[in-house]
Subunit: 313 residues, 2 copies
Protein backbone atom coordinates (compact mmCIF):
# COMPACT_ATOMS: atom_id res chain seq x y z
CA UNK A 1 0.00 0.00 0.00
CA UNK A 2 1.35 3.40 -1.01
CA UNK A 3 0.87 6.35 1.38
CA UNK A 4 -1.02 9.29 -0.08
CA UNK A 5 -1.43 12.80 1.27
CA UNK A 6 -4.92 11.94 2.55
CA UNK A 7 -3.30 9.27 4.72
CA UNK A 8 -0.94 11.88 6.15
CA UNK A 9 -3.89 14.18 6.84
CA UNK A 10 -5.64 11.38 8.71
CA UNK A 11 -2.46 10.58 10.60
CA UNK A 12 -2.19 14.22 11.64
CA UNK A 13 -5.74 14.24 13.03
CA UNK A 14 -4.91 11.05 14.90
CA UNK A 15 -1.64 12.14 16.54
CA UNK A 16 -2.10 15.92 16.82
CA UNK A 17 -2.90 16.01 20.51
CA UNK A 18 -0.04 13.70 21.46
CA UNK A 19 2.82 15.43 19.64
CA UNK A 20 4.30 18.92 19.91
CA UNK A 21 3.58 21.32 17.09
CA UNK A 22 7.25 22.27 16.89
CA UNK A 23 8.39 25.85 16.29
CA UNK A 24 9.72 27.25 13.03
CA UNK A 25 12.87 29.33 13.56
CA UNK A 26 15.16 31.33 11.34
CA UNK A 27 18.48 33.13 11.65
CA UNK A 28 19.22 36.49 10.08
CA UNK A 29 22.93 35.88 10.26
CA UNK A 30 22.80 32.49 8.52
CA UNK A 31 20.59 34.02 5.82
CA UNK A 32 23.04 36.86 5.36
CA UNK A 33 26.09 34.59 5.19
CA UNK A 34 24.51 32.30 2.57
CA UNK A 35 22.31 34.86 0.78
CA UNK A 36 19.19 32.77 1.30
CA UNK A 37 15.94 32.87 3.26
CA UNK A 38 15.88 29.67 5.32
CA UNK A 39 13.22 28.58 7.81
CA UNK A 40 13.90 25.60 10.07
CA UNK A 41 11.17 23.24 11.31
CA UNK A 42 12.57 22.26 14.69
CA UNK A 43 11.81 18.61 15.39
CA UNK A 44 14.69 18.64 17.87
CA UNK A 45 12.01 20.11 20.17
CA UNK A 46 9.65 17.19 19.44
CA UNK A 47 9.01 14.66 22.22
CA UNK A 48 12.02 12.32 22.63
CA UNK A 49 13.98 15.00 20.74
CA UNK A 50 13.25 13.76 17.22
CA UNK A 51 10.61 13.61 14.47
CA UNK A 52 10.49 9.83 14.98
CA UNK A 53 7.87 10.31 17.67
CA UNK A 54 5.34 11.25 14.98
CA UNK A 55 5.61 8.00 13.06
CA UNK A 56 5.82 5.82 16.15
CA UNK A 57 2.74 7.49 17.66
CA UNK A 58 0.76 7.02 14.47
CA UNK A 59 1.73 3.35 14.23
CA UNK A 60 1.00 2.56 17.86
CA UNK A 61 -2.38 4.30 17.84
CA UNK A 62 -3.48 2.15 14.90
CA UNK A 63 -2.92 -1.18 16.63
CA UNK A 64 -5.94 -3.35 17.25
CA UNK A 65 -6.91 -4.14 20.84
CA UNK A 66 -5.38 -7.58 20.54
CA UNK A 67 -2.15 -6.24 19.06
CA UNK A 68 -1.98 -3.59 21.78
CA UNK A 69 -2.14 -6.19 24.50
CA UNK A 70 0.81 -8.05 23.03
CA UNK A 71 2.86 -4.93 22.53
CA UNK A 72 5.31 -3.58 19.97
CA UNK A 73 8.92 -4.32 19.16
CA UNK A 74 11.75 -2.98 17.05
CA UNK A 75 15.51 -3.12 16.77
CA UNK A 76 17.20 0.23 16.99
CA UNK A 77 19.88 1.97 18.95
CA UNK A 78 18.60 5.37 18.07
CA UNK A 79 15.69 7.77 18.08
CA UNK A 80 13.12 5.28 16.80
CA UNK A 81 13.65 3.06 19.86
CA UNK A 82 13.00 5.96 22.24
CA UNK A 83 10.06 7.18 20.16
CA UNK A 84 8.39 3.78 20.02
CA UNK A 85 8.94 3.25 23.75
CA UNK A 86 7.31 6.53 24.71
CA UNK A 87 4.47 6.18 22.20
CA UNK A 88 3.72 2.72 23.63
CA UNK A 89 4.05 3.86 27.23
CA UNK A 90 1.45 6.57 26.68
CA UNK A 91 -1.06 3.82 25.87
CA UNK A 92 0.23 1.37 28.48
CA UNK A 93 1.31 -0.93 25.68
CA UNK A 94 4.42 -3.06 26.32
CA UNK A 95 7.46 -2.20 24.19
CA UNK A 96 10.33 -4.62 23.54
CA UNK A 97 13.45 -3.03 22.14
CA UNK A 98 16.33 -5.00 20.68
CA UNK A 99 19.55 -3.03 21.09
CA UNK A 100 23.18 -3.79 20.32
CA UNK A 101 25.23 -4.26 23.49
CA UNK A 102 27.51 -1.40 22.50
CA UNK A 103 24.72 1.18 22.18
CA UNK A 104 25.58 4.41 24.01
CA UNK A 105 24.67 4.35 27.72
CA UNK A 106 22.56 7.48 27.28
CA UNK A 107 20.33 5.77 24.69
CA UNK A 108 19.87 2.69 26.86
CA UNK A 109 18.83 4.91 29.75
CA UNK A 110 16.38 6.88 27.63
CA UNK A 111 14.63 3.73 26.46
CA UNK A 112 14.58 2.26 29.95
CA UNK A 113 13.27 5.56 31.26
CA UNK A 114 10.27 5.17 28.96
CA UNK A 115 9.59 1.78 30.54
CA UNK A 116 10.52 -0.41 27.59
CA UNK A 117 12.07 -3.83 28.03
CA UNK A 118 15.48 -4.02 26.36
CA UNK A 119 16.98 -7.20 24.95
CA UNK A 120 20.64 -6.80 24.16
CA UNK A 121 22.33 -8.50 21.21
CA UNK A 122 25.63 -8.51 19.39
CA UNK A 123 26.18 -5.40 17.27
CA UNK A 124 25.52 -6.96 13.87
CA UNK A 125 22.47 -6.66 11.66
CA UNK A 126 22.11 -10.44 11.66
CA UNK A 127 22.11 -10.61 15.46
CA UNK A 128 19.61 -7.77 15.63
CA UNK A 129 17.22 -9.43 13.23
CA UNK A 130 17.52 -12.85 14.85
CA UNK A 131 17.00 -11.41 18.32
CA UNK A 132 14.01 -9.44 17.12
CA UNK A 133 12.53 -12.59 15.62
CA UNK A 134 13.00 -14.42 18.92
CA UNK A 135 11.38 -11.57 20.88
CA UNK A 136 8.44 -11.48 18.45
CA UNK A 137 8.01 -15.21 18.72
CA UNK A 138 8.01 -15.12 22.50
CA UNK A 139 5.81 -12.07 23.01
CA UNK A 140 3.65 -11.87 19.91
CA UNK A 141 4.56 -8.18 19.72
CA UNK A 142 4.02 -6.27 16.46
CA UNK A 143 7.21 -5.20 14.71
CA UNK A 144 7.20 -1.47 13.98
CA UNK A 145 9.91 -0.90 11.37
CA UNK A 146 11.62 2.49 11.69
CA UNK A 147 10.76 3.52 8.11
CA UNK A 148 9.62 0.64 5.90
CA UNK A 149 6.13 0.99 7.32
CA UNK A 150 3.06 2.71 5.89
CA UNK A 151 1.86 4.17 9.20
CA UNK A 152 5.31 5.34 10.23
CA UNK A 153 5.80 7.17 6.92
CA UNK A 154 2.39 8.82 7.25
CA UNK A 155 3.32 10.01 10.73
CA UNK A 156 6.63 11.46 9.54
CA UNK A 157 4.80 13.30 6.74
CA UNK A 158 2.92 15.36 9.32
CA UNK A 159 6.06 17.40 10.04
CA UNK A 160 6.16 18.85 6.50
CA UNK A 161 2.37 19.28 6.57
CA UNK A 162 2.58 21.44 9.71
CA UNK A 163 5.59 23.24 8.25
CA UNK A 164 3.88 24.19 4.99
CA UNK A 165 0.65 25.13 6.72
CA UNK A 166 2.67 27.65 8.72
CA UNK A 167 5.03 28.75 5.91
CA UNK A 168 3.26 28.12 2.60
CA UNK A 169 5.53 30.08 0.26
CA UNK A 170 8.65 27.92 0.17
CA UNK A 171 10.57 27.53 -3.08
CA UNK A 172 12.43 24.47 -1.84
CA UNK A 173 12.03 22.03 1.03
CA UNK A 174 14.95 19.86 2.18
CA UNK A 175 14.96 16.84 4.48
CA UNK A 176 17.84 14.58 5.47
CA UNK A 177 17.73 11.01 4.10
CA UNK A 178 18.62 7.93 6.12
CA UNK A 179 16.13 5.11 5.65
CA UNK A 180 13.91 7.57 3.83
CA UNK A 181 10.91 7.72 6.17
CA UNK A 182 11.07 11.46 6.80
CA UNK A 183 12.01 12.14 3.19
CA UNK A 184 9.10 10.07 1.84
CA UNK A 185 6.55 11.73 4.10
CA UNK A 186 7.98 15.17 3.39
CA UNK A 187 7.91 14.67 -0.38
CA UNK A 188 4.30 13.41 -0.37
CA UNK A 189 3.08 16.30 1.79
CA UNK A 190 5.01 18.98 -0.07
CA UNK A 191 3.98 17.92 -3.57
CA UNK A 192 0.35 17.55 -2.52
CA UNK A 193 0.22 20.95 -0.85
CA UNK A 194 2.07 22.79 -3.61
CA UNK A 195 3.34 20.95 -6.65
CA UNK A 196 5.65 23.89 -7.48
CA UNK A 197 7.84 23.32 -4.41
CA UNK A 198 11.13 21.63 -5.19
CA UNK A 199 11.73 18.70 -2.85
CA UNK A 200 15.37 17.91 -2.20
CA UNK A 201 16.94 15.16 -0.12
CA UNK A 202 20.21 15.74 1.73
CA UNK A 203 22.61 12.92 2.39
CA UNK A 204 26.19 12.57 3.63
CA UNK A 205 28.57 11.88 0.74
CA UNK A 206 29.94 9.04 2.88
CA UNK A 207 26.50 7.39 3.03
CA UNK A 208 25.20 8.24 -0.42
CA UNK A 209 23.09 5.15 -1.12
CA UNK A 210 19.96 7.23 -1.72
CA UNK A 211 21.83 9.52 -4.12
CA UNK A 212 23.17 6.53 -6.05
CA UNK A 213 19.84 4.72 -6.06
CA UNK A 214 17.96 7.83 -7.15
CA UNK A 215 20.45 8.62 -9.90
CA UNK A 216 20.73 5.10 -11.28
CA UNK A 217 17.08 4.21 -10.83
CA UNK A 218 17.77 1.01 -8.92
CA UNK A 219 17.88 0.43 -5.20
CA UNK A 220 21.53 0.27 -4.12
CA UNK A 221 22.00 -0.55 -0.44
CA UNK A 222 24.61 1.35 1.52
CA UNK A 223 27.98 -0.22 2.12
CA UNK A 224 29.05 0.10 5.73
CA UNK A 225 28.87 3.91 5.80
CA UNK A 226 31.19 6.01 7.93
CA UNK A 227 29.66 9.38 8.70
CA UNK A 228 29.21 11.64 11.69
CA UNK A 229 25.51 11.79 10.75
CA UNK A 230 24.65 8.73 12.82
CA UNK A 231 20.94 8.98 12.05
CA UNK A 232 21.59 8.49 8.33
CA UNK A 233 23.48 5.20 8.28
CA UNK A 234 20.56 3.10 7.09
CA UNK A 235 19.62 2.37 3.46
CA UNK A 236 16.38 3.08 1.66
CA UNK A 237 13.78 0.32 1.63
CA UNK A 238 11.85 -0.65 -1.51
CA UNK A 239 8.89 1.39 -0.24
CA UNK A 240 10.79 4.56 0.63
CA UNK A 241 12.84 4.28 -2.58
CA UNK A 242 9.65 4.19 -4.64
CA UNK A 243 8.12 7.13 -2.80
CA UNK A 244 11.27 9.21 -3.12
CA UNK A 245 11.64 8.41 -6.84
CA UNK A 246 8.06 9.48 -7.42
CA UNK A 247 8.01 12.63 -5.33
CA UNK A 248 11.51 14.04 -4.79
CA UNK A 249 13.23 16.27 -7.34
CA UNK A 250 16.83 15.76 -6.46
CA UNK A 251 19.22 14.32 -3.92
CA UNK A 252 22.32 16.25 -2.94
CA UNK A 253 25.26 15.16 -0.84
CA UNK A 254 27.62 16.91 1.56
CA UNK A 255 31.12 16.18 2.81
CA UNK A 256 31.80 15.35 6.45
CA UNK A 257 33.65 18.60 7.15
CA UNK A 258 30.81 20.64 5.69
CA UNK A 259 28.30 18.77 7.87
CA UNK A 260 30.35 19.67 10.96
CA UNK A 261 30.59 23.32 9.87
CA UNK A 262 26.86 23.46 9.25
CA UNK A 263 26.14 21.89 12.63
CA UNK A 264 28.41 24.40 14.32
CA UNK A 265 26.80 27.26 12.44
CA UNK A 266 23.34 26.21 13.69
CA UNK A 267 24.57 25.80 17.28
CA UNK A 268 26.40 29.13 17.31
CA UNK A 269 23.99 31.28 15.41
CA UNK A 270 20.65 29.79 16.45
CA UNK A 271 21.54 28.61 19.98
CA UNK A 272 19.76 25.32 19.44
CA UNK A 273 21.14 21.81 19.73
CA UNK A 274 20.77 19.72 16.60
CA UNK A 275 22.23 16.32 15.87
CA UNK A 276 24.70 15.94 12.99
CA UNK A 277 22.04 14.39 10.71
CA UNK A 278 20.01 17.58 11.02
CA UNK A 279 22.88 19.67 9.73
CA UNK A 280 23.12 17.83 6.41
CA UNK A 281 20.50 19.97 4.61
CA UNK A 282 22.34 23.18 5.55
CA UNK A 283 25.63 21.55 4.53
CA UNK A 284 24.13 20.76 1.13
CA UNK A 285 23.22 24.43 0.73
CA UNK A 286 26.75 25.46 1.71
CA UNK A 287 28.19 23.16 -0.98
CA UNK A 288 25.73 24.20 -3.71
CA UNK A 289 25.34 27.94 -3.23
CA UNK A 290 24.24 28.59 -6.83
CA UNK A 291 21.22 26.28 -6.49
CA UNK A 292 19.91 28.10 -3.46
CA UNK A 293 20.85 31.79 -3.53
CA UNK A 294 17.88 34.11 -3.26
CA UNK A 295 15.49 31.22 -2.57
CA UNK A 296 13.09 30.64 0.30
CA UNK A 297 14.05 27.26 1.71
CA UNK A 298 12.47 25.08 4.37
CA UNK A 299 14.75 22.69 6.27
CA UNK A 300 13.49 19.85 8.43
CA UNK A 301 15.64 19.62 11.55
CA UNK A 302 15.29 15.94 12.34
CA UNK A 303 16.40 15.86 15.98
CA UNK A 304 18.64 17.06 18.77
CA UNK A 305 19.98 13.93 20.41
CA UNK A 306 23.73 14.22 20.62
CA UNK A 307 26.26 12.84 23.03
CA UNK A 308 27.73 15.95 24.64
CA UNK A 309 30.81 13.95 25.58
CA UNK A 310 31.64 13.30 21.95
CA UNK A 311 31.11 16.48 20.01
CA UNK A 312 32.93 17.05 16.71
CA UNK A 313 34.18 20.44 17.89
CA UNK B 1 18.07 58.51 40.07
CA UNK B 2 16.37 55.25 41.01
CA UNK B 3 14.63 53.23 38.26
CA UNK B 4 10.93 52.59 38.88
CA UNK B 5 8.59 50.22 37.08
CA UNK B 6 7.16 53.12 35.08
CA UNK B 7 10.65 53.70 33.69
CA UNK B 8 10.81 50.05 32.62
CA UNK B 9 7.41 50.37 30.96
CA UNK B 10 8.64 53.40 29.02
CA UNK B 11 11.83 51.56 28.10
CA UNK B 12 9.76 48.67 26.78
CA UNK B 13 7.70 50.97 24.54
CA UNK B 14 10.94 52.49 23.28
CA UNK B 15 12.81 49.28 22.43
CA UNK B 16 9.96 46.85 21.63
CA UNK B 17 10.30 46.99 17.86
CA UNK B 18 14.08 46.56 17.93
CA UNK B 19 14.34 43.53 20.21
CA UNK B 20 13.00 39.99 19.97
CA UNK B 21 10.13 39.04 22.22
CA UNK B 22 11.90 35.86 23.25
CA UNK B 23 10.04 32.58 23.74
CA UNK B 24 9.14 30.99 27.05
CA UNK B 25 9.98 27.27 27.13
CA UNK B 26 9.56 24.48 29.63
CA UNK B 27 10.65 20.86 29.98
CA UNK B 28 8.43 18.13 31.34
CA UNK B 29 11.41 15.97 32.16
CA UNK B 30 13.21 18.66 34.17
CA UNK B 31 9.98 19.37 36.03
CA UNK B 32 9.56 15.70 36.80
CA UNK B 33 13.15 15.24 37.97
CA UNK B 34 13.00 18.22 40.33
CA UNK B 35 9.28 18.10 41.21
CA UNK B 36 8.75 21.70 40.15
CA UNK B 37 6.98 23.67 37.43
CA UNK B 38 9.69 25.79 35.77
CA UNK B 39 9.27 28.15 32.83
CA UNK B 40 12.37 29.58 31.14
CA UNK B 41 12.47 33.02 29.52
CA UNK B 42 14.95 32.41 26.72
CA UNK B 43 17.13 35.48 26.24
CA UNK B 44 19.70 33.21 24.59
CA UNK B 45 17.47 33.78 21.54
CA UNK B 46 17.71 37.57 21.96
CA UNK B 47 19.72 39.55 19.39
CA UNK B 48 23.48 39.10 20.01
CA UNK B 49 22.49 36.02 22.03
CA UNK B 50 21.94 37.77 25.36
CA UNK B 51 19.55 39.99 27.36
CA UNK B 52 22.22 42.72 27.25
CA UNK B 53 20.80 43.92 23.95
CA UNK B 54 17.75 45.26 25.80
CA UNK B 55 19.70 47.59 28.07
CA UNK B 56 22.12 48.69 25.37
CA UNK B 57 19.28 49.48 22.97
CA UNK B 58 17.45 51.52 25.58
CA UNK B 59 20.58 53.49 26.46
CA UNK B 60 21.57 54.18 22.87
CA UNK B 61 18.08 55.27 21.84
CA UNK B 62 18.06 57.88 24.62
CA UNK B 63 21.18 59.70 23.48
CA UNK B 64 20.79 63.30 22.35
CA UNK B 65 21.60 64.17 18.76
CA UNK B 66 24.93 65.60 19.80
CA UNK B 67 25.80 62.56 21.89
CA UNK B 68 24.79 60.26 19.03
CA UNK B 69 27.18 61.96 16.66
CA UNK B 70 30.09 61.42 19.04
CA UNK B 71 29.19 57.81 19.68
CA UNK B 72 29.25 55.40 22.62
CA UNK B 73 31.99 53.53 24.39
CA UNK B 74 32.45 50.83 26.99
CA UNK B 75 35.03 48.37 28.22
CA UNK B 76 33.92 44.78 28.05
CA UNK B 77 35.02 41.48 26.66
CA UNK B 78 31.58 39.99 26.81
CA UNK B 79 27.95 40.27 25.80
CA UNK B 80 27.61 43.98 26.66
CA UNK B 81 30.28 44.88 24.09
CA UNK B 82 28.46 43.02 21.33
CA UNK B 83 25.09 44.39 22.46
CA UNK B 84 26.27 47.99 22.53
CA UNK B 85 27.97 47.60 19.15
CA UNK B 86 24.83 46.28 17.45
CA UNK B 87 22.52 48.77 19.18
CA UNK B 88 24.77 51.61 18.01
CA UNK B 89 25.12 50.20 14.50
CA UNK B 90 21.35 50.12 14.06
CA UNK B 91 21.35 53.90 14.51
CA UNK B 92 24.59 54.51 12.60
CA UNK B 93 26.19 55.69 15.82
CA UNK B 94 29.91 55.02 16.23
CA UNK B 95 30.84 52.52 18.96
CA UNK B 96 34.28 52.34 20.57
CA UNK B 97 34.94 49.18 22.53
CA UNK B 98 37.89 48.76 24.86
CA UNK B 99 38.82 45.10 25.08
CA UNK B 100 41.60 43.21 26.82
CA UNK B 101 44.15 41.82 24.34
CA UNK B 102 43.44 38.29 25.58
CA UNK B 103 39.70 38.39 24.87
CA UNK B 104 38.53 35.30 22.97
CA UNK B 105 38.90 35.59 19.20
CA UNK B 106 35.19 34.85 18.73
CA UNK B 107 34.20 37.86 20.85
CA UNK B 108 36.57 40.16 18.98
CA UNK B 109 35.08 39.01 15.70
CA UNK B 110 31.50 39.49 16.91
CA UNK B 111 32.20 43.08 17.94
CA UNK B 112 34.08 43.82 14.71
CA UNK B 113 31.24 42.22 12.78
CA UNK B 114 28.88 44.80 14.26
CA UNK B 115 31.16 47.53 12.95
CA UNK B 116 32.57 48.76 16.26
CA UNK B 117 36.08 50.13 16.61
CA UNK B 118 38.08 48.07 19.10
CA UNK B 119 40.92 49.46 21.17
CA UNK B 120 42.94 46.74 22.83
CA UNK B 121 44.50 47.10 26.26
CA UNK B 122 46.27 45.02 28.86
CA UNK B 123 43.94 42.62 30.69
CA UNK B 124 43.70 44.53 33.96
CA UNK B 125 40.86 46.65 35.28
CA UNK B 126 43.22 49.60 35.60
CA UNK B 127 44.32 49.35 31.97
CA UNK B 128 40.70 49.01 30.85
CA UNK B 129 39.61 52.10 32.74
CA UNK B 130 42.60 54.17 31.62
CA UNK B 131 42.15 53.16 28.01
CA UNK B 132 38.44 53.91 28.19
CA UNK B 133 39.23 57.34 29.60
CA UNK B 134 41.65 58.00 26.75
CA UNK B 135 39.09 56.88 24.14
CA UNK B 136 36.42 59.08 25.72
CA UNK B 137 38.77 62.05 25.75
CA UNK B 138 39.68 61.59 22.13
CA UNK B 139 36.21 60.86 20.74
CA UNK B 140 33.82 62.52 23.17
CA UNK B 141 31.86 59.26 23.16
CA UNK B 142 29.34 58.59 25.95
CA UNK B 143 30.32 55.79 28.32
CA UNK B 144 27.54 53.20 28.62
CA UNK B 145 28.32 51.19 31.74
CA UNK B 146 27.22 47.52 31.50
CA UNK B 147 25.00 47.75 34.59
CA UNK B 148 25.66 50.80 36.76
CA UNK B 149 23.42 52.85 34.47
CA UNK B 150 19.79 53.88 34.87
CA UNK B 151 18.80 53.33 31.24
CA UNK B 152 20.59 50.00 31.00
CA UNK B 153 18.83 48.68 34.11
CA UNK B 154 15.45 49.83 32.75
CA UNK B 155 16.15 47.97 29.50
CA UNK B 156 17.10 44.77 31.32
CA UNK B 157 13.86 44.99 33.35
CA UNK B 158 11.82 44.57 30.17
CA UNK B 159 12.71 40.86 30.06
CA UNK B 160 10.89 40.12 33.33
CA UNK B 161 8.05 42.43 32.26
CA UNK B 162 7.49 40.41 29.06
CA UNK B 163 7.91 37.19 31.02
CA UNK B 164 5.26 38.04 33.64
CA UNK B 165 2.86 39.42 31.05
CA UNK B 166 3.00 36.01 29.36
CA UNK B 167 3.11 33.89 32.54
CA UNK B 168 1.50 35.89 35.33
CA UNK B 169 1.11 33.18 37.96
CA UNK B 170 4.68 32.56 39.08
CA UNK B 171 5.41 31.85 42.74
CA UNK B 172 9.11 32.62 42.35
CA UNK B 173 11.26 34.35 39.74
CA UNK B 174 15.04 33.77 39.62
CA UNK B 175 17.71 35.68 37.73
CA UNK B 176 21.47 35.22 37.75
CA UNK B 177 23.52 37.98 39.42
CA UNK B 178 26.75 39.36 38.04
CA UNK B 179 26.90 43.14 38.17
CA UNK B 180 23.24 43.10 39.08
CA UNK B 181 21.70 44.84 36.07
CA UNK B 182 19.39 41.98 35.08
CA UNK B 183 18.64 41.21 38.73
CA UNK B 184 17.74 44.83 39.50
CA UNK B 185 15.45 45.19 36.50
CA UNK B 186 13.86 41.80 37.18
CA UNK B 187 13.18 42.60 40.83
CA UNK B 188 11.63 45.99 40.06
CA UNK B 189 9.35 44.54 37.37
CA UNK B 190 8.34 41.48 39.35
CA UNK B 191 7.47 43.32 42.56
CA UNK B 192 5.54 45.98 40.68
CA UNK B 193 3.52 43.48 38.66
CA UNK B 194 2.80 41.16 41.60
CA UNK B 195 4.15 41.90 45.05
CA UNK B 196 3.49 38.29 46.10
CA UNK B 197 6.14 36.88 43.77
CA UNK B 198 9.33 35.89 45.55
CA UNK B 199 12.35 37.33 43.76
CA UNK B 200 15.55 35.33 44.15
CA UNK B 201 19.02 35.99 42.84
CA UNK B 202 21.31 33.12 41.82
CA UNK B 203 25.07 33.42 42.11
CA UNK B 204 28.03 31.06 41.84
CA UNK B 205 29.39 30.21 45.31
CA UNK B 206 32.82 31.08 43.89
CA UNK B 207 31.67 34.62 43.06
CA UNK B 208 29.32 35.26 45.95
CA UNK B 209 29.85 39.00 46.42
CA UNK B 210 26.15 39.73 45.98
CA UNK B 211 25.22 37.05 48.53
CA UNK B 212 27.69 38.46 51.04
CA UNK B 213 26.69 42.06 50.39
CA UNK B 214 22.97 41.25 50.63
CA UNK B 215 23.42 39.23 53.82
CA UNK B 216 25.69 41.69 55.60
CA UNK B 217 23.93 44.80 54.33
CA UNK B 218 27.10 46.44 53.03
CA UNK B 219 28.55 46.38 49.55
CA UNK B 220 31.41 43.88 49.47
CA UNK B 221 33.23 43.75 46.13
CA UNK B 222 34.19 40.38 44.68
CA UNK B 223 37.71 39.14 45.14
CA UNK B 224 39.12 37.79 41.89
CA UNK B 225 36.39 35.19 41.36
CA UNK B 226 37.06 31.86 39.69
CA UNK B 227 33.88 30.43 38.19
CA UNK B 228 32.78 28.83 34.97
CA UNK B 229 29.93 31.38 34.90
CA UNK B 230 32.00 33.95 33.03
CA UNK B 231 29.11 36.41 32.83
CA UNK B 232 28.93 36.69 36.61
CA UNK B 233 32.48 37.74 37.48
CA UNK B 234 31.64 41.39 38.11
CA UNK B 235 30.61 42.92 41.43
CA UNK B 236 27.46 44.84 42.28
CA UNK B 237 27.61 48.62 41.95
CA UNK B 238 26.16 50.96 44.59
CA UNK B 239 23.07 51.41 42.41
CA UNK B 240 22.38 47.75 41.71
CA UNK B 241 23.15 46.86 45.34
CA UNK B 242 20.53 49.34 46.52
CA UNK B 243 17.93 48.10 44.04
CA UNK B 244 18.53 44.47 44.93
CA UNK B 245 18.38 45.15 48.68
CA UNK B 246 15.08 46.93 48.23
CA UNK B 247 13.40 44.49 45.85
CA UNK B 248 14.91 41.01 46.07
CA UNK B 249 13.91 38.50 48.73
CA UNK B 250 16.91 36.29 48.85
CA UNK B 251 20.19 35.41 47.16
CA UNK B 252 21.20 31.78 46.81
CA UNK B 253 24.49 30.31 45.64
CA UNK B 254 25.49 27.17 43.73
CA UNK B 255 28.68 25.17 43.50
CA UNK B 256 30.63 24.91 40.26
CA UNK B 257 29.82 21.24 39.69
CA UNK B 258 26.12 21.90 40.17
CA UNK B 259 26.27 24.74 37.64
CA UNK B 260 27.83 22.37 35.09
CA UNK B 261 25.18 19.69 35.81
CA UNK B 262 22.40 22.24 35.45
CA UNK B 263 23.85 23.52 32.18
CA UNK B 264 24.08 19.99 30.87
CA UNK B 265 20.53 19.24 31.96
CA UNK B 266 19.25 22.26 30.00
CA UNK B 267 21.28 21.32 26.89
CA UNK B 268 20.22 17.68 26.97
CA UNK B 269 16.61 18.01 27.97
CA UNK B 270 15.66 21.27 26.28
CA UNK B 271 17.96 21.15 23.23
CA UNK B 272 18.91 24.78 23.65
CA UNK B 273 22.34 26.31 24.09
CA UNK B 274 22.73 28.38 27.23
CA UNK B 275 25.88 29.86 28.67
CA UNK B 276 27.08 28.73 32.11
CA UNK B 277 25.78 31.91 33.80
CA UNK B 278 22.28 31.01 32.63
CA UNK B 279 22.44 27.65 34.38
CA UNK B 280 23.04 29.14 37.83
CA UNK B 281 19.32 29.61 38.67
CA UNK B 282 18.59 25.95 37.89
CA UNK B 283 21.69 24.94 39.88
CA UNK B 284 20.35 26.89 42.85
CA UNK B 285 17.08 24.93 42.61
CA UNK B 286 19.03 21.66 42.45
CA UNK B 287 20.90 22.57 45.65
CA UNK B 288 17.81 23.81 47.54
CA UNK B 289 15.08 21.37 46.58
CA UNK B 290 12.97 22.02 49.68
CA UNK B 291 12.61 25.72 48.85
CA UNK B 292 11.24 25.01 45.40
CA UNK B 293 9.30 21.73 45.31
CA UNK B 294 5.76 22.11 44.06
CA UNK B 295 6.33 25.76 43.11
CA UNK B 296 5.84 27.54 39.79
CA UNK B 297 9.19 29.14 39.05
CA UNK B 298 10.30 31.53 36.32
CA UNK B 299 13.97 31.46 35.33
CA UNK B 300 15.64 34.14 33.23
CA UNK B 301 18.05 32.51 30.79
CA UNK B 302 20.57 35.30 30.34
CA UNK B 303 22.30 34.20 27.14
CA UNK B 304 23.69 31.53 24.89
CA UNK B 305 27.19 32.67 23.98
CA UNK B 306 29.57 29.83 24.70
CA UNK B 307 32.85 28.84 23.16
CA UNK B 308 32.09 25.42 21.66
CA UNK B 309 35.81 24.63 21.75
CA UNK B 310 35.89 24.91 25.52
CA UNK B 311 32.84 23.20 26.91
CA UNK B 312 32.84 21.86 30.48
CA UNK B 313 31.65 18.45 29.32
Amino acid sequence: MIPKYQDIQKAHERIKTFIHQTPVLSSKSINKILNVDIVFKCENFQKVGAFKFRGATNAVRLLTKEESEKGVTTHSSGNHAAALSLAAKQLNIPAYIVMPRNAPEIKKKAVEGYGAKITFCEPTLQAREETLYAVQKETGATFIHPYDNFNVICGQGTAAKEFLEEIPDLDIIIAPIGGGGLMSGTAISAKAINSEIKVYGAEPLNANDAFLSFTKGVLIPAGPPKTIADGLLTSLSPLTFQLIRENADRILTAKEETIVSAMRMIWERMKIIVEPSSAVPLAVIMENRNLFEGKKIGILISGGNVDLNHLPF
